[in-house]
Amino acid sequence: MIAVALHEARMIGRRAIWPAVLILHAAATASFVIVWGPTGGVPLWQASLLEQLTAMDRLAAAALLTWLATAVLTDDGARRLADWSALAGLPTATVFRARITALVTLSLVFIAVAAPAFVAAGEISAATPRDIARHIGMSLGFSALAAGVTAAASVALRDRVGVWCTAMAVCLIAALGVRMLPTDLMRMLAPAIAGLIMLAAVPSMLRSRRVTDGD
């Protein structure tokens, strides 16, 4: 499985979407610190800049990592999995697990590009290195969750938009459920976003079911 996981990581890393996701993530986190760093954070948001950045980063992961995972996992549908299963002489489930392993491993890089922004936000917030490392670790865990959730959605749904919307909604709900979004503002915004995303996913889910029934 390791050989196939390495191959999948290589294939994902060579897609145009991969540097795009990394650049967007680095730009979003750096911009947040540059814009709100001088004022110590977003006004009316009772949290340190580091906590605000961590919350914002989860929204970025929920959108960008699920986008990447959707593009990768739904590419060529199940046929490519079956092809590699035949070529490698492995069960399809093993090839699928290898692909998820590659995605989760690459989420390390996704978080790594935001590390400078975390460090800068931590210094502005006078946080200890341990606190900064804890926030980065939590972001990493959330990124792995986003990859896993998208993988699960790609098994249940075939439609690319449906997979992405559903994965985003589940990630946001998960973030709310474990109180990862610390301010009242974000708590008000996140359910509304999750509701909208789920509504957007319903037609895709229905279309996917029709396709499945028709097979």
């Binding site: 499985m1 390791i2 050989a3 196939v4 390495l6 191959h7 290589r10 294939m11 060579r14 897609r15 490519r80 079956a82 092809d83 590699w84 299963s85 035949a86 070529l87 490698a88 002489g89 492995l90």
Partner: protein, 184 residues
């Protein structure tokens, strides 16, 4: 050993029944290439037959050009297959050299992808080997070396099925040929 019983090449078409013993190569020759590809996929276990049965004794491998991606190199593609099948890197490198190719060749051309697909099947070549249109797009030199390799495999305990529309290609390596269109 491969055994096929009552497997139609297409819905309503003639059903195929044949055996491929170890050390034999059977060619399936026909003009309907998409149907032959589906048949090859079924023989390799990629598809479940709706009608008829396929018995495969041992591991199966298939030559699939569509799985060779332009973003990879020949060495990466074949190396992944080799590693997943428990082959050493030196075995893979020997295979690449046997076809007169180099591992850093990018799979950006149909010829390179065809070579990667064929090589991926040949290095795994034991048990049942299913080759669909294996020489299409191949350079003449690579084609000649691949034919020698397939003939050598056919002398080993490997059951080989080759499908395609090019009579010259199919007959080049087959011990016996089934002409699909004639229903024989």
């Amino acid at each position: 050993m491969l055994r096929v019983e009552g497997l139609p090449i297409r819905a309503g078409g003639p059903a195929l029944t044949f055996d491929v013993a170890d050390g034999r190569c059977v060619g399936l020759l026909g003009a309907d290439v998409p149907a032959l590809l589906r048949l090859a996929e079924t023989l390799a276990g990629l598809r479940t037959p709706l009608v008829g049965r396929v018995w495969i004794d041992g591991p199966a491998s298939i030559c699939l050009a569509r799985a060779a991606h332009p973003r990879t190199t020949l060495g990466e593609h074949v190396g992944t297959i080799g590693a997943a099948r428990g082959l050493t890197r030196s075995t893979v490198d020997e295979g690449i050299a046997r076809l007169g190719l180099t591992g850093n060749m990018p799979l950006t051309t149909p010829s390179a992808r065809a070579a990667a697909a064929l090589l991926g099947a040949l290095i795994a070549g034991r048990g049942v080997l299913v080759l669909h249109d294996p020489f299409a797009n191949l350079d003449a030199g690579v084609r000649a070396k691949a034919i020698d390799w397939i003939r050598a495999l056919a002398a080993a305990p490997t059951s080989i099925v080759i499908t395609g529309a090019d009579e010259r290609d199919v007959r080049a390596v087959s011990h016996s040929v089934i002409e699909i269109e004639a229903g024989r």
